[in-house]
Symmetry: C2
Subunit: 322 residues, 2 copies
């Protein structure tokens, strides 16, 4: 018998807010997107989400929601608040959980986007059935979620899981956080672009795909690096190698703390597949103590890329009632 | 009403095996030590421990034991076995838990020494009442235990918690594990001696305490570095500074994963107090993302140094029945 219960998942980003209705199996039965910055604050944004959903709920004939999950930058699982978030133009702090609960008249759970994705991956994705794993999200930044004994690690204050801001290279590239050498400045999409620029500088007479794009357009993206690498461009291939090197070392050190059975990669650059994951795996293994070697799977997310944020946020609500 | 129940704690080391009887409050009511290498294997060793304890138990009039905890190098909590341990001369693997259970006719829990110390610290020591903290043991090596939500992290295979073998310095000092730059090669007692030797080399005409000891004896210990530092020897002070620098960075990166409320230091070099913990704290803070700054306490163990191993092992047994 199929359950008729549903959850609502909302993923608030700096640019877009995506929301939808998720069933117990992690399938998105409805989804829509609003432009976050069109609304002066979270209350107006969530009222609009509520109105859009109400119409669809009636149409779909859904009777029962078990709850609402929200993934948002800087959202704190314990306090229900956002106190700091570089990407949101709201007046902070914001009592997001309280506002959402009252607008939707549903129990609400909030956490940051990477943690929501981690819960989603554990509930429906590549980490289904795993008790100890890491999720690494690669995109504008580098997010992370760490699971031990089947439980997401929140830390004493809810702020655990910022591997993107661990120091990967001492006195390395400057980071927006005010420090130097954060992993994020090497392994994010923009970090990979910086690495590729350095490689082109080094290979001065490159005739490869990337060099041509740079000449034509004056810049390139992480996706261009991927395309160039598939065509055998040495600068692009070396960029994946170096990105894997930095990620591999940081992850090896994290493995020595938590000994997970897998590291799941989610987001844009990780869709490059073996181009990225092979160098990550190679450098991970090279930096691991022997007791950890050949034990940690390095795999891609199994969540559908476009729905993953909603699925993750929706899974948060199910997580709460387990 | 005071509980009349007790546990037995056994700490097996390469040199000595210390064992004792621990009450519910974490007090050691009896303890003794045997030379590990005098016995050909674990069975003979544990039979001897059992005989020594039996006499004392009768004398003390103890009626009820809830269990037995053993801390030993390489001991795996999940499998009950030791499969690898550089310091033990036994034929491995050894089914330690099974052997001990049968000799003592008691439920037995085993784990490695650093994890036993972590459980001890959480049950009776500086981390009492804490749900999220790290324990770092400094001695011949660097051991570690990580606690999240009040639970020790074992990892998927029981081998979590080897921060001493995370890579602190890329292509750094050679380590006995076959790799280079492990934290242990900098922050252990012998690592500190290497750092001090390098410092004396750098400060060629040092007239300090350490230089004099080196001239007289041809070598010095971590304790000599401590003594020299209390006398203001620049090479010794710089050794603490550099040790704190390496530890501070490694720990900052670990904090970005788990956001603990405290890091507890246990063992020889950490008894140097502020000489070590002040530089650790300084470099920890300097490498932390702002959301973690000024939140993580850096403190010394509160377990009595000589009984700590037995208390930790004994606490393992209580942990099991909680």
């Amino acid at each position: 018998m199929q359950s008729k219960k549903f959850s609502i998942g909302i993923d608030i980003g700096g640019t877009n807010t995506t929301f939808g209705i998720v069933n117990r199996k992690g399938e998105v039965v409805f989804q829509a997107t609003l432009a976050t910055a069109q609304y002066p604050g979270p209350e107006e944004l969530l009222r609009s989400v509520h109105q859009h959903l109400s119409a669809s709920i009636q149409q779909l004939g859904i009777a029962e929601f078990i709850g609402l999950g929200i993934g948002a930058p800087g959202a704190n699982y314990y306090t229900g608040e956002i106190t700091a978030a570089a990407n949101l133009k709201w007046t902070l702090p914001v009592a997001l959980q309280q506002i959402a609960s009252s607008i939707f008249a549903l129990p609400c759970t909030i956490t940051n986007d990477a943690k929501a994705a981690t819960i989603g991956e554990m509930t429906y994705g590549a980490a289904k059935g795993m008790k100890d794993f890491f999720l690494i999200t690669l995109g504008t930044g580098v997010g992370s979620g760490f699971v031990a004994k089947g439980q997401l690690i929140y830390g004493h204050d809810g702020f655990a899981g910022e591997l993107g801001h661990s120091i990967a290279i001492e006195n390395g590239r400057e980071c927006g956080c005010g420090r130097k050498g954060c992993l994020e400045r090497y392994a994010s999409a923009s970090g990979m672009v910086l690495t590729a620029m350095e490689e082109l500088d080094r290979q001065k007479n490159s005739q490869g795909h990337l060099a041509r794009i740079l000449k034509q357009k004056g810049s390139f993206t992480a996706h261009d690096i991927y395309t160039a690498a598939t065509q055998g461009d040495p600068a692009a291939l070396q960029t994946f190698e170096l990105t894997g090197k930095v990620l591999g070392l940081s992850l090896a050190n994290a493995v020595s703390i938590m000994s997970p059975q897998a590291i799941v990669f989610f987001g844009g650059p990780s869709r490059s597949g073996k181009l990225l994951l092979d160098p990550v795996k190679k450098h991970l293994e090279a930096n691991l103590l022997s007791i950890y070697q050949d034990k940690v799977a390095v795999i891609e997310s199994l969540l559908p890329q476009n729905d993953a944020a909603i699925i993750g946020a929706g899974a948060l609500a199910w997580e709460k009632i387990r």
